[in-house]
Every structure is written in structure tokens, then in C-alpha cells.
Symmetry: C2
Subunit: 308 residues, 2 copies
């Protein structure tokens, strides 16, 4: 799997990518997912990739091999055009690969983040989907994640705003990555961190963060310790006290309870059940089930390996 | 969607469930997902459900309607047998529903957590899969989650151990729920919280936590504020300093870079690309791409709605 995050703030852009790839847990390898297209003083484009590695490699090849400086991303007049060029590459790879992939029941699975700056235009950040279509980050939604995004989302939601300083945004991206690394073995070091200062038009801040990196180690242990301290310092629930409002079950709030039926159902257990709770078999008083009405077709996980 | 979590500690069990159900974002409702089977002084069983609501309702019906006190969960001699009875219900519902669901391309989507205590046996906690098979929590893996589990996993991983006091475990479950509520709109209040003290053999601590609940509101705001304080207090990265080890890009660590090709590829762009990077067309020096080898067939998300 993969975890990549890119943040757009007033001061510039932050890109962070892990480097673990896996085809099953017994085939784990390292692949760097952050690629830079830089013409210093004129343009910096940073591409983050996740998905099937053969597909993301094909997209990068399509964008780079045999592409001269008057073509492709080197010639894009603005970031929107650059995003369209990347989307077109995704579509070309799709066209070439999809029949063979379908024959093997392999999804066309690739997601990309493209950010950067071209000439006098402002910094911009895009997320590009497998269909080659894309969206741009906005004031209200100023970060994108691809891959294993959920573990690291809460801290981004709490911290990131458009006016967050660039160093804070980098620290937040690393904290988000730390939570993901801790909870998901398919994401792993080293990390590619690139911080782009708006209007610099060159890569000035890049770090390849390996296992023993002192800053990341400090961040990881400090964050873990402080979280536990904050957690311990929060008051515990007090039960049955009117102020705390975690009422005892003797109060009005009751869990949904099932009680045994007085008589067995008309039909024996393995036979079909009554079609609806509204029409219980006359012979058997229904079990006491008190609950609110509702309806769903939610899609929770299938059968995860343990522990999920 | 759903988020349910159950924690097994030395002191007992904690169960927490949200109550949002949805069939698309325009069809959101409330349904309680925590169900209690209690014979005070003898057994307490708590069932958490997630998945397609029609399936989880059918499972609960199968376990309760027309089931007398000498049958089913009321007669299970121990928690393992209870888990098997729930698994058998899941299988019966599968048998009855699967043909019709398949005809409409609907997955048989249900996951359950069963925990509790029967007679003199210890507390036990199980997760039951759509196939009716199940696993039990252990010393090393002492909690289970179903539904939208990822947002709330990091805090559980940091805090929960087998010796965590019951109140701390309840506080942790609520903190985990808070992160999930904040990041995912398909999970919502009210919450069912049930804390079971080992060997009590009855439900003594239950709370239905609604929007204005003072304890949950305090927890949510305190946790959010303190997280930000801790985050702010952590040192920012210092670039280019040997001690901090976030080296500038002028150091040895470089991002993967693409440079323009000197000449265009032999074939024009939309035509097939060279099959492998190892065999570039003789006419065109390949673009400079420096990267480590790797391979993957990871499976990141498809096309999420924005922001993911």
C-alpha cells in the first residue's frame, strides 16, 4: 500500500510520501513515490503516486521518456494544463493496459497528486483519478491524501488551515504519517519530504527520512508520549452523576434489549423466519426488541485479517 | 456506515456503537447497533452489528424471535458456544438471502462483535465475519472494531493494554469515536456506551450519549484543544542542520528527478511507449529517472469523493 499527503497553504506546498510497496505481505519492497520535474527559476512540479506500481511506473514513463523540454510537462503553460497532461497520460496507459488487466481481474488502480508552480502563476495542487479526471485543492479543502489515508486524516482535519505556516504543515504531515505507520504495516519508511516555498521556483527543502532520522524519531516519540499524557489528564467518566450525564442504566436511557420468548416460534429454528417483524407468528409473542427505525446499505469492511 | 468498537481488559468489557445508517448521503437515518441479551446474575451478552442493515436486522431476528429461554443464546453454556450460535444465524440468513442479493449485485455485508460473560466463565470477546466464522480477542489484540475503523485506530493502538482500567478504556473508546465522527460524516450520534464489569453478570453501566451530552462534549473539545497544544509544542523541523537531520536537498539525499530528454522519442507521443525502461529507443537518451527497484500490486482507493 501507500500513504501520500500533500498540503497547500498560503506559504507554499508540502509533499510527503512513504516508500513501501507490497504484493501481499510476503512481497514487500521499497519504491519511491515522489517524483520531481524541475526547471529551476521557471517551474517545479511534484508528482505523488499510489496504486498498482506497474501502472504508476507506466504513467511516469509516459510523462518523461523521450519527452523533450518543449513538450509535455516541460511545456505546460500553467498547472491546470499540467494536470490535464498527467490525466492524459493516465488515459493513454489505461487504453494500452486495460484489456490485459481485465483478463486477469486486476483493477486499473492508480491515484496521483500533482502540485507545484509554473512561472508567474500561483502554487496549485491537484488530485488525479484513475479515469484521468482531476480536482483542485481549495481554501476549504487544502490537502489531498492518496493510499491509506484514514489513519492520518484526523490530525490533518484538526490542524491544517490555509494560513498554517509551512513548517507546521510539514510537521503535521509527518505526524499524520507517524499515526499511519503505527497502525498499518503496509506503509513504511523511508519517507520523501519536499517542502516548496511559494515563488521560489526551485526545490530548496527536501529530506529523505530514514529509520534513524533524529527529527522524525523525536516527533514520533514525543507525539506518542504527549498523546498519552493528554489522554490521562482528561477526566474519566463519572457514572450516575447528573452533571456528568453518563447516566446509569437505571435512568431513562436503556440499551436495546432482547428477552426470551415465552413460547417457541411456530416453525422450528432452521425453517424460514417470519418475513417482517411487523407480522410475528400469532402463536409466539415477539421477543422484546426496542429500537428506532432505520435503513442502510452501508459498506463496511469484508473479512479483514486480525487485528484489523 | 457504522463505527463500533469493543475493548477487552482485565477488568471487563467496553462496548461503544454509533447509530448512523445511510443508503447514500441523501438517505441518512438512526439505528441502534448495540443489543443486549441479559439474564441478570447468570449471563450478559452484548452484540454490535455493522453492514447492510437488512442483514444485521435479520441476524438479530433470527437470534431472538421465538427463541425461548432454553434455546439459542439463552442456553449457550459458554461464550464460545454463543459465538458459534451467532455465526450459525449469520449462515442461515446468508442461505436465505444470498440468491436475491446476488441478483441485485448486493454484497452479503455484515460484521459483528459479540462479548460478554456466562456463569463462572471469564469475560470473552469475539468478532464474527460474514461467513459466520469468528476470532477471539487475545492478550496481544484486546480490541475489535467494525465499520469505519481506521480513523479511530491510532489512539486505541497507543493506549489500550490488557491492564488498562475500565474507565480509561471507556474514555479511549469515546476518544476513538470522536476522531471518527470528526473525519467521517457517515458515522453519527447518538452513541450507545456499555461498560461491563467482569463478574457482575448484569448491565450496570450504560449510557445513551446524545448531541448535548456534557461529558462527551467536554472530552471532544478538551481532546481537540490539547492535541493542538501538543502539536504546537513539538519543535518544528530545522533544515540543513546536522543535528536535526532534515537535510537540505544539496546534501546526499535527492528526490527522484525527471529531466527533459535531449531528443524526442523515436515514435511520436500518442503511439506505443517503449516496452521497458531497460530498452530505450536508441535515438533518444532516456530521461534521468533515479529510483530504487520495487514491485507492488497494492490496492488503494478507487475514486473517492472530495475531500477523501
Amino acid at each position: 500500500m501507500t500513504y501520500c499527503v500533500a498540503i497547500h497553504t498560503d506559504a507554499g506546498l508540502v509533499f510527503l510520501a512513504d516508500s513501501r510497496t507490497n504484493a501481499g505481505v510476503d512481497h514487500i519492497s521499497t519504491f519511491r513515490k515522489l517524483t520531481v520535474f524541475e526547471r529551476a527559476g521557471e517551474r517545479v512540479l511534484v508528482l505523488l503516486t499510489s496504486g498498482n506500481l506497474s501502472i504508476s511506473q507506466s504513467v511516469i514513463s509516459d510523462l518523461s521518456e523521450g519527452v523533450t523540454e518543449t513538450e509535455g510537462l516541460w511545456a505546460a503553460r500553467n498547472m491546470f494544463e499540467a494536470a490535464r497532461i498527467v490525466g492524459d497520460s493516465v488515459r493513454r496507459v489505461h487504453e494500452r493496459e486495460i484489456a490485459a488487466l481485465r483478463a486477469h481481474d486486476v483493477d486499473f488502480n492508480v491515484s496521483l497528486i500533482l502540485g507545484g508552480q509554473i512561472g508567474g502563476e500561483r502554487c496549485r495542487l491537484f488530485q488525479i483519478y484513475p479515469a484521468g479526471n482531476f480536482i483542485e485543492a481549495s481554501e476549504a479543502a487544502s490537502y489531498f491524501q492518496i493510499g491509506e489515508s484514514k489513519y492520518g486524516k484526523p490530525i490533518l482535519d484538526r490542524v491544517i488551515e490555509r494560513r498554517t505556516p509551512l513548517d507546521d504543515a510539514a510537521k503535521c504531515a509527518l505526524t499524520s504519517m507517524d499515526s499511519t505507520l503505527r497502525s498499518n504495516i503496509s506503509v513504511g519508511l523511508p519517507l520523501d519530504l519536499l517542502v516548496y516555498e511559494a515563488d521560489s521556483l526551485q526545490v530548496t527543502h527536501f529530506s529523505l527520512i530514514r529509520e534513524g532520522n533524529p527529527y522524525f524519531r523525536m516527533l514520533s516519540s514525543t507525539w506518542g508520549e504527549r498523546l498519552k499524557q493528554v489522554f490521562s489528564a482528561m477526566p474519566n467518566p463519572v457514572w450516575g452523576d447528573a452533571e456528568s450525564a453518563l447516566s446509569l442504566s437505571s435512568g431513562t436511557a436503556q440499551p436495546v434489549r432482547v428477552t426470551p420468548s415465552a413460547q417457541p416460534a411456530a416453525a422450528p429454528q432452521p425453517a424460514p423466519m417470519p418475513a417482517a417483524a411487523a407480522a410475528p407468528p400469532p402463536a409466539a409473542p415477539p421477543a422484546t426488541i426496542q429500537r428506532a427505525a432505520g435503513d442502510t446499505s452501508a459498506t463496511p469492511p469484508g473479512q479483514p485479517s486480525m487485528p484489523e
